[in-house]
Amino acid sequence: MTALARPIGRPRAASGPLRHHMRRFGAISAVTLVAATIVSAFLMPLAYMVATAFKDPSQLTAVDAPLYPAAPEVFVYQGKELKVYDVPTPDGTIHAWALLQPHREDAIFIDPANPGAGEITWIGRPRTLAQHWAFSLKVDNFTAAWETIDFPRLFLNTFGIAGLSTVGAVLSGICVAYGFSRFRFPGRNGLFILMLATIILPFQVTLIPSYALYLALGWVGTWWPLIIPHFFANAYNVFLLRQYFLTIPRELDEAAMIDGAGPFRILRSVIVPQAVPAIIAVTLFHFFWAWNEYFLPLIYLQGKPDLQPLAVGLARFNALYSQQPTLIQAAAIMAMLLPVVLFFLAQRAFMRGVVFGGVEK
């Protein structure tokens, strides 16, 4: 199972090193280009998200606004902010004039270069004119979102909930998956199906009994309902780990057993090192899922804004009668920074674990 990593660009011995070099470079460029195109199309909505996060809300509904974050160019005249347009005059020149009062078939402008000249009446349809927009990032969206929902506190909350829940989920998932994949015991298949059953039943109908249960335990209004159950293994993690454990050859177990290792030692020194990619995957999946979990934290932490995670705080900008998409997206971008960085760093370990594991066959 070794993957021979061939370093890019190192020339082979013997004939035509340069031509091989260039062929390989060409192939790499082609593949990278294709990948870049695909990922750009794939992430187009993300670009929309970032653009929205930097826009002023009025730009979202303005008719001829550019796609990039921009502010209308304005000219202040007698205390009023007038928008600047490109106005063609009959002699063929185009002027950058500030609109004072539009009408249907004519309009009154002020020339910013010569405001003393007073009002200029222009005949034409002002709605057909092109407005001046200047690229402008509204960083205020981020500061407003940060302050309104107390971002630092919610960030810590989210980190705590997701972190603790992930620790429990991974540890218990490994144990239970090991049990399912390496041992025979009566009712094994039935138990496995039972485990899957817990994720098949829609949560809406177990919500009330679960809530009553946690209420009786005194856990409503605390983080516990979001953390403790994960210490008892959940089906997604166990299922994945079990599938992966099944691909690890039994000879490794046997080799360890011959050396006198008990089952727990085998788990620790044989299975886990072999399964590092799957374990990292499960860790990441669970962490990111818990990071963005919305509904259960909403239910169990209602009335306690100091304990809520980011996903719940974000919903405050999505109120029924006053949705604020710019703030939602700004907050969402800030909320996803940590997971993205975490992923970027973790994937090296993810890939490295695969390369160095394995048995010579």
Binding site: V39, G179, A197, I200, L201, P202, V205, P229, M351, V354
Partner: protein, 319 residues
């Protein structure tokens, strides 16, 4: 290849000296149960009661606002399901969606995984992170983004389509196009599957590819005869998870249609209908029956897949 029954007793000492094969198997059973114990305990503590409760509720007329006025009505809820046209419509919506989205996302995830697995790709770390990024956006925020992107007149997708001369449909208001629109949104959720496929792809021994090449196999043949079988365990996992997710599809449909299943019930997925019954009309008893109907359907499908898995899923360490 995996070892056979001969490896049941790996220790060199004779089983007879240790009390026989049965003792060995009992020890193995016990150990296995010990490891699985966290799940069993957790199930008993946190899942069993709610599940049983919901089953019992499905035999009643439970209204959550009046929990003391509950009456046992037997199978009346289940009988009602037989003649409920909205339920049948929601089943149709869900099935059609599953048929569209499950193969689509599996294929896309595998394709992307192979792409970022390629040694010919420069900056693989960056590409992997980029393809995974949508999984890290809070779901409500990303659904709002998609609603904006899919807008008929101001959405970027239609801007792009019109730029190349194609007509941009009214994605979210047309009963025909809203399904594909949700499918597009589903493509954003391939991150996890891609990662799992990557793990599977990375663990395919390169000697097999070399051997295939020696035998004269082209890339398609080597994909079919080396890659697919070797990643079949993870493919199986992704298939099951995608299937369950498709039948449980709820949040995006809820946000896109304001909880109503618009346009004209084209987004009234099974779980959305269930939610409406449970918390819109407060027919919690009927909703519980619906939940168990879904349970039976999905569990049935899952069990069938598991049974047939033996024939196409290659498990190296399975016993």
């Amino acid at each position: 290849m995996s070892t056979t029954q001969a490896a049941i007793e790996p220790l060199p000492t004779s089983p007879r000296r240790r009390g026989g094969w049965r003792a060995v198997r009992e020890r193995e059973s016990l150990t296995g149960l010990v490891f699985v114990a966290p799940f069993i305990v957790g199930f008993i503590l946190f899942s069993a009661i709610p599940m049983v409760a919901s089953l019992v509720l499905s035999l009643t007329d439970f209204d959550p606002r009046e929990p003391d006025e509950i009456h046992f009505i037997g199978l009346a809820n289940y009988q009602q399901m037989l003649t409920d046209p909205v339920l049948h419509e929601s089943l149709g919506v869900t099935l059609r969606f599953a048929l569209l989205v499950v193969p689509l996302t599996l294929a896309a995830a595998l394709g992307v995984a192979m792409l970022v697995n390629s040694k010919l790709l420069a900056g693989r770390n960056v590409f992997r992170t980029l393809f995974y990024m949508p999984m890290q956006i809070p779901l409500v925020a990303s659904t709002i983004v998609w609603i904006g992107v899919l807008h008929a007149t101001t959405g970027w997708l239609n801007y792009g389509l019109e730029a190349v001369g194609l007509p941009g449909p009214n994605w979210l208001q047309s009963t025909f196009w809203v399904g594909p629109a949700l499918g597009l949104m589903g493509l954003w959720g391939i991150g996890n599957m891609m990662l799992i496929f990557l793990a599977g792809l990375q663990s395919v021994p390169t000697e097999l590819y070399d051997a295939a090449k020696v035998d004269g196999a082209g890339s398609w043949a080597s994909f079919r005869h080396v890659t697919l079988p070797m990643i079949s365990p993870v493919l199986f996992y992704n298939l099951i998870i995608a299937l369950i997710a498709a039948f449980q599809y709820f949040t995006q449909a809820f946000v896109v249609s304001n909880g109503r299943g618009d346009p004209d019930r084209a987004t009234l997925f099974f779980n959305l209908n269930l939610y409406r019954e449970a918390f819109g009309f407060f027919h919690m008893g009927y909703a519980s029956a619906l939940a168990w109907l879904l349970f039976v359907i999905v569990l049935g499908l899952t069990v069938v897949l598991f049974k047939t898995a033996g024939s196409w899923v290659f498990a190296g360490g399975e016993r």
